[in-house]
């Protein structure tokens, strides 16, 4: 059983900002869930439930809940919410809070982006691309040494890279 007396009632202020709509206006109607593909997942992503957890301040439960990461980002819930809440944005904000609270949530795609500027090896498909009449690589940051160095210089000053520098090794040094 969850003891609400032990909940962190200020949690919502750590997670959401005003531009996500006023989540206190959520009356749990479930519109955000109907039509949500990830609501059919196992376990289901139930965004209205997550909004409730944020409002009740169920910090430990929310930190253990990986369902926000199942979102397909279709944004349909943003269109449909009758209360002006931006459920998709709230889901993203929960993920960002989880990354801040527990660095094991930091997506492995981030170091990949740091390394090659992409989530796929766009520069390693030369043979295939040439066979189709394309250049060996698209005009990406990864094929331009100077652009890549400047890109990393910028990323180095972001909060997330500063929070876990060991995940973002600088090959230059």
């Amino acid at each position: 059983m969850i003891d609400l007396a032990e909940a962190n009632t200020g949690l919502w202020k750590d997670i959401v900002t005003e531009d996500m709509g006023d989540i206190r206006k959520c009356y749990n109607c479930g519109t955000c869930i109907s039509g949500c593909p990830a609501a059919e997942g196992n376990p289901p992503l139930l965004i209205r439930r997550l909004v409730r957890m944020v409002l009740f301040g169920l910090e430990d439960e929310l930190l253990d809940d990986e369902t926000p990461w199942a979102c397909v980002s279709c944004n349909q819930c943003m269109e449909m919410c009758p209360q002006g809440v931006k459920p998709f944005e709230v889901g993203l904000a929960i993920r960002r809070w989880q990354c801040r609270e527990d660095e094991t949530y930091i997506p492995p795609s981030l170091p990949e982006l740091w390394e090659i500027g992409h989530t796929q090896s766009v520069h390693k498909q030369g043979e295939l691309r040439k066979s189709l009449g394309l250049d060996e690589s698209p005009p990406s940051v990864v094929t331009d040494h100077e652009s890549m160095a400047n890109f990393r210089k910028m990323l180095k000053e972001t909060a997330i890279v500063k929070s876990a520098p060991y995940m973002f090794p600088d090959e230059e040094e």
Binding site: G41, C74, P138
Partner: protein, 302 residues
Amino acid sequence: MKYGLFLGCNAPAIRPDLERAMRLTMPELGVELVEMEGYACCPGYGTFPASDEIASLAVSGRNLAIAEERGVDVLVECGSCYSVLRHAAHNLRHDEEKAKKTNELLAIDNKKFSGTSQVRHMIDVLYHEVGTEKIAQSIKHRLDGIEIVVQYPCHTLFPSDVMGFDDPRNPHKLGELVEAMGAKVPRFSREYQCCGGAGGFAARSKKEATAFAKKKFDAIKAETNAEAIVVSCITCLMFMNNIQTDFGEGWETIPVLDYNQLLALCMGFDPKQVCSIGETLKVPAEPREKFIEKITKAAVPG
């Protein structure tokens, strides 16, 4: 008409046949494609947007700044890239504080977001800038007598006040673009169901995501005579193509093509260049090859 072609990550790495199709078809329609040298990931929703908002705006803002330097709007096919870049441009235009923090980061890379370039989706540009008439005139092979269903990319529909170029409750523009080439685009019950391929859903709940997609495919087979599915989003393209290998024995594959691939085939470009990667993904090639053959043998108008 000039646009900066934003390729994202998946098309150039996994489906370069789609990239080739875009690069061949757009100039035929009078659209000059400008290279966005030095571009990076949009960044995808599961990366910076899910971990650091300002970092995410900086990576998007950097891509947008590259287009601004070239004085062009951005042309995007990938639904996720479109949604991420479009949201970022919207936030940076309307939130001074976020724009200030973002530009502080961009200054390190000698770049600046000013908000002068618009982000446009492929369907939007084809429908509103090129037009169905010009498309109909550009093709060598017509699709008369062929039924094709379309997959409206969810990322281009919602939220309509930021994404909007089509009716979010009754999208029809991709369908009309296919009809412009002579095909019949039938309506069916699950026409507007999302493919379910983006984000963590399919990776975390493979069984459920397969069942979710199967419902849509079953409806296509039961309610239409579709010979192909046409999409305009790299995620829809890859997911709807690949997921069919999980539908079990006896499933007859429905070929899935991106709109620019279909256009390239109808314009008479080499199928080996513009529509050829399916079999590397263990999807049987035969249904696609049969469909391509039908198009290339179709009557040349006039």
